[in-house]
Amino acid sequence: MRYRLEHLNPALEQALDALLSSTGHARADAGADADALVVGIGAPQLGTALLDVEPQAWEEAIGRMRAAFVAVRALASELVAREAPGRVVVVVDPPVLRAAERTGLPAVAGAFLTTLAQVAALDLGPRGIAVNVLVAGWMAPAPAALAQGVPLGRLADPDDVARACAFLLSPDQAAYVNGATLAVDGGWFITKADGGNPLTAGG
């Protein structure tokens, strides 16, 4: 598998690159053919209520969505032209699954990409291209206090997320997984911790 990693949280990119390259896969050089892509929207923009989001931060979120779309479309059009199968994983953030205060920008951008990935799965499935969504749990540099809201009691380790990515990328392991959403969030989605959301502390 020749893979591209684009617009990921740097710690996740490093973990994923290490895992994939150690299991016989190769990162595609710029301009070279690839058959797999993991794409995200960078480290989440956290801590601002939507009411206080300034136009610049909003445009940055839109720009991240756009860059992720362009990356998926680029691989899709190359694969279609080569009549080759492929696999895409779109990485989004936990508030896609349930809204929370001061997480509106990653929620909006991630929700956008989730539906985009689902329709891409529908459009590209007949071509042998699978597109799935991975909800990456809260990872550093997100505030450590977010672990209060995670039933497993800790933030995600980039390796936790990388291993799930590798599963979704694998044509052997996940051959029939398409248009799915896999949450690797320690269970954040299913509960709210006592004491609420640490992002709202201090006003």
Partner: protein, 254 residues
């Protein structure tokens, strides 16, 4: 008359056959003074204002591009000056284009994202700030779509913009609830409008109708009545909710 004396803004509302017009008509029927926004279609807007005034309602047209933040602020100031403090904001302006995923043009992405998502954000945020300043326990009702629950082939960007509005509404609902401002969104089924036109008697129409359990297309006024409910005191405790008005179109399909 559940909205007597209240001021409501509906964006993307001038077109004769659009959902926006249905929302305007329903809010006006409940006694609201309605600010009708659109980026164009001034003739159709003038006709709508005249129709509503003839019926004894208060209505005004405000031409503005919702993707332009300054234009949105100017419009809201004009509405406050001319009609009074804003009680309800209905970001409804939207456009739809479709293409196979790998062929989606950049221009389609930019057009849909800027109008549907940034436009919705601009109007919702600017309106919410004014409601908070005025201490108004107001209402925000966005027009999302059944695409929030179901994926439709060749509609990656359109569907994604509506899902983004869902996330926007959910987050705003939590953040604004302490101020008594509710934020909800409606999911129209198939409305025959400029956004999704189909020839009468065509195979496409037959296929569309066959998929809708209610056996017919949605009427814009039906979207409006759902919005009027969400804007009324009857829905004071409803927030962060998605109300589908689709004749069962996507039931069993998502």
């Amino acid at each position: 008359m559940r909205l007597a004396g209240k001021v409501a803004l509906v964006t993307g509302a001038a077109r004769r056959r659009g959902i926006g017009r249905g929302i305007v008509e329903a809010l006006a029927a409940e006694g609201a003074a309605v600010a009708i926004n659109d980026v164009g279609a001034e003739d159709e807007a003038a006709e709508l204002v005249e129709q509503l005034e003839r019926q004894g309602a208060t209505a005004r047209f405000y031409r503005a591009d919702v993707t332009d933040r300054d234009a949105v602020e100017q419009m809201l100031s004009a509405i406050e000056r001319e009609l009074g403090p804003l009680y309800a904001a209905c970001p409804n302006a939207g456009l739809a284009r479709w293409a196979p995923f790998e062929q989606i043009p950049d221009a389609d992405f930019d057009a849909m994202v800027s109008v549907n998502v940034t436009g919705g954000f601009n109007v919702a945020q600017a309106a919410a700030r004014r409601m908070l300043e005025a201490g108004t326990r107001g209402r925000i009702v966005l027009t999302s779509s059944v695409h929030v629950q179901m994926s439709f082939a060749q509609c990656a960007i359109y569907g994604a913009t509506k899902q983004a509005l869902r996330a926007l509404a959910d987050t705003l609902a939590i953040e604004l609830a302490p101020a008594g401002i509710t934020v909800n969104h409606i999911g129209p089924g198939w409305v025959r409008s400029d956004l999704a036109d189909v020839d009468a008697g065509s195979d496409v129409e037959r296929t569309m109708l066959a998929q809708i359990p209610a056996g017919r297309e949605a009427r814009p006024i039906e979207m409006g009545k759902a919005v009027a409910f969400l804007c009324s005191d009857d829905a004071e405790y409803v927030t962060g909710e998605f109300l589908r008005v689709d004749g069962g179109y996507v039931v069993g399909k998502y």
